[in-house]
């Protein structure tokens, strides 16, 4: 009795998986979407949009979330190569999974990056234009302060996607002879970036106590902008007209912009558009006409009090 029970239960489990497998019927194209970051809101938006687009194209999409495990991404890439899927989409730094990408390439399977980073292993990488996002917010700041005044910059040059934003803002401010960059701060991001940015901004406010001595704070992403905003409000200097901008338009930033205070603008990435464009890039690749550029940019949008509610 016990013996038959012991063998029957694993068999039941196998039967269950057989039933599940039957659901995954053959389709026009087998696409594996592999990411360790499905729990992140941005990634969820990409993947949902990708799946929507895939439905129209009658693709069989397998979304594989390795839950933060990057080595498992390599394993699943190897499995996708063995399985001979028609294309792979990744959302992870390609430099960390090169071993798996090499296996996929050897199998002759194209890989499209969905906000993944540049790599010779990718047909193309679909992402937001960091240069353009920084140009939009820096120009917003320059125009709001009439091309004149002291600006505090929050940058992070150690992380390439954020570093390019700083370079562009430098160029915009440098092109305005009456704008002076008071300080170019690199906050400590180990706590998420808000608390240390606030402390740094408090010190800068203390060193520049006169009204009008600081015209604007340009931040390369939202967290330092939120920290600077907290410092300005805590110092009771919210009525001096200091203009604060961020990038990414995260929910906390949108709330601050909607409140109508010093935090005036941020950039929204079109996560949905990135997923859709990634599906388009896969379709082009499968039809034998892959995108020409190694990067496909999806337009971003300046978020201000006027459109934050949309």
């Amino acid at each position: 009795m016990t013996a038959s029970l012991r063998t029957r239960l694993p068999t039941a489990a196998l039967f269950l998986s057989a039933v599940l497998a039957a659901g995954a019927a053959a389709a026009a194209g087998k696409i594996a979407v592999i990411t360790p970051y499905l729990a992140q809101p941005g990634t969820q938006f990409y993947v949902e949009a990708f799946q929507e687009a895939a439905k129209d194209k009658a693709w069989d999409v397998n979304v594989i979330d390795t839950k933060g495990d990057v080595a498992a991404v390599i394993s699943r890439l190897e499995d996708a190569a063995t399985q001979k899927v028609d294309a792979v989409v990744i959302n992870v730094d390609p430099a960390q999974v090169e071993a798996g990408l090499a296996a996929v390439k050897d199998a002759g399977i194209p890989v499209v990056g969905m906000d993944a980073g540049a790599s010779p292993y990718l047909v193309t990488n679909v992402t937001s234009n960091g240069y353009a996002m920084a140009a939009d917010t820096a120009a917003y700041v320059a125009n709001r302060i009439g091309g004149k005044g002291n600006v505090v910059m929050f940058v992070f040059d150690a992380f390439p996607p954020v570093q390019v934003r700083g370079v562009i803002a430098d160029a915009v401010f440098g092109n305005n002879p009456d704008i002076k960059v008071l300080d170019r701060v690199t906050p400590d991001v180990s706590d998420g970036g808000i608390a240390d940015s606030r402390a740094k901004m408090e010190a800068i406010l203390a060193a520049n106590p006169d009204k009008g001595s600081i015209s604007a704070v340009w931040a390369a992403w939202d967290q330092p902008a939120l920290g600077a905003l907290q410092a300005i409000e805590a110092a009771g200097r919210q009525d001096e007209g200091i203009v604060v901008t961020g990038i990414d338009a995260n929910p906390q930033a949108r709330e601050a912009i909607a409140a109508g205070g010093n935090f005036e603008a941020s950039m929204a990435q079109d996560f949905h558009g990135i997923g859709k464009a990634a599906a388009e890039a896969v379709a082009q690749t499968l039809s034998g006409k892959p995108p020409k550029s190694s990067v496909v940019y999806v337009p971003t949008k300046l978020i201000t009090a006027d459109n934050v509610g949309d």
Binding site: P10, L20, K30, A32, G68, D93, A95, Q96
Partner: protein, 316 residues
């Protein structure tokens, strides 16, 4: 016949899993290349599970192995970044692993803290240290020497397109060493005696404290080895990257324990446990089954295997 099923139920389950995938994925599953892939994919988990077996033989646990694997990877990567050679980084990481393991051993054996509590504490400490020394950042790119990251991509060529991966060889070596230590030495027999009855082992003249101290040291060393393998495979080090290893390793040992008449862990049985987890991951991916369904299935199979084995024992 019935007793054979009792002992080999999990093994039969494993064979059924393999046969099932063989039928469902006829072209690509039962190939040398795929099995070499699987062996490489499970190699890091295997090393942790093999050395975890050493402490579980005594009825103890080491919950800190995942964060120790992360810490070891970070230590090596930082050494590389500071311009030290590959061997210096690897040696430093292994020393940290051994020292961390021995600290666990000292807390358990000499201070007398329950392993669950002691290693839960050091889990947090080692994880915190990994964040502290790395500044919370991922160390990657030019900081990682290509000889180090190249190791995980290298192997001994077997045929035109397939080779025996270096990571698989490392795991096989660890398997042989642990098997020898546990099954062929008095040290190993004494660990089983401690697992059987600590008090009786002590009265029989076994130096229980010293053996537990050393066994935890080996577990730490294994965790650090796995951490280095992981860092080599992803060509980077991140303060959280080993955290998934601990629960899977314990699960693999448990799966293996169901194959023993006495419910003792044996490292060869642990290998079967590791392979069950690895084959499920590989096969279900190839069948395009949703990754969350895969999690549910793996968890269910662990519970089923352990449950059927304990039902068998309770009735027996």
């Amino acid at each position: 016949m019935a007793s054979a099923f009792k002992t080999y139920g999990t093994l039969i389950g494993f064979v059924l899993v393999v046969v099932f995938f063989w039928i469902e994925i006829p072209d690509t599953f039962m190939t040398a290349k795929n099995w070499l892939n699987i062996s490489q994919q499970v190699s890091m988990l295997a090393v942790v599970a093999f050395t975890m077996t050493i402490v579980m033989v005594m009825g103890d646990f080491d919950l800190s192995v995942g964060s120790m694997a992360s810490l070891a990877g970070i230590v090596a990567a930082l050494a590389f970044r500071d311009g030290h050679g590959v061997w210096v980084g690897v040696a430093l990481a292994l020393i940290v692993g051994l020292a961390g393991g021995l600290l666990n051993g000292a807390l358990v054996a000499y201070v007398g803290i329950l392993p669950f509590v002691a290693t839960l504490g050091t889990l947090t400490v080692y994880s915190g240290l990994a964040f502290l020394v790395s500044g919370g950042k991922t160390i990657f790119g030019r900081d990682i020497p290509t000889t180090f990251s190249g190791f995980a991509r290298s192997g001994i060529p077997l045929a035109e397109t397939i080779s025996l991966p270096s990571l698989t060889i490392v795991a096989a070596l660890v398997l042989m060493v642990v098997w020898f230590v546990l099954e062929q030495t008095t040290f190993g027999r004494r660990l089983y005696a401690i697992g059987g009855n600590k008090e009786a082992a002590r009265l029989a003249g076994i130096r229980v404290r010293r053996l537990r101290f050393l066994a935890f040291g080996l577990s730490g060393l294994g965790a650090a080895t796995a951490g280095l393998m992981y860092a080599s495979r992803v060509a980077s080090a991140n303060p959280t990257q080993g955290s998934g290893l601990m629960l899977d390793a314990i699960a693999a040992v448990f799966l293996g324990m169901t194959m023993s008449e006495e419910g003792e862990p044996h490292v060869a049985a642990t290998l079967v446990g590791v392979l069950i987890l690895g084959v499920l991951g590989n096969g279900l991916t190839q069948m395009s089954i949703d990754s969350y369904v895969r999690e549910v299935l793996i968890g269910s199979i662990i519970v089923l295997a352990v449950a059927t084995s304990s039902i068998g024992k309770a009735r027996g």
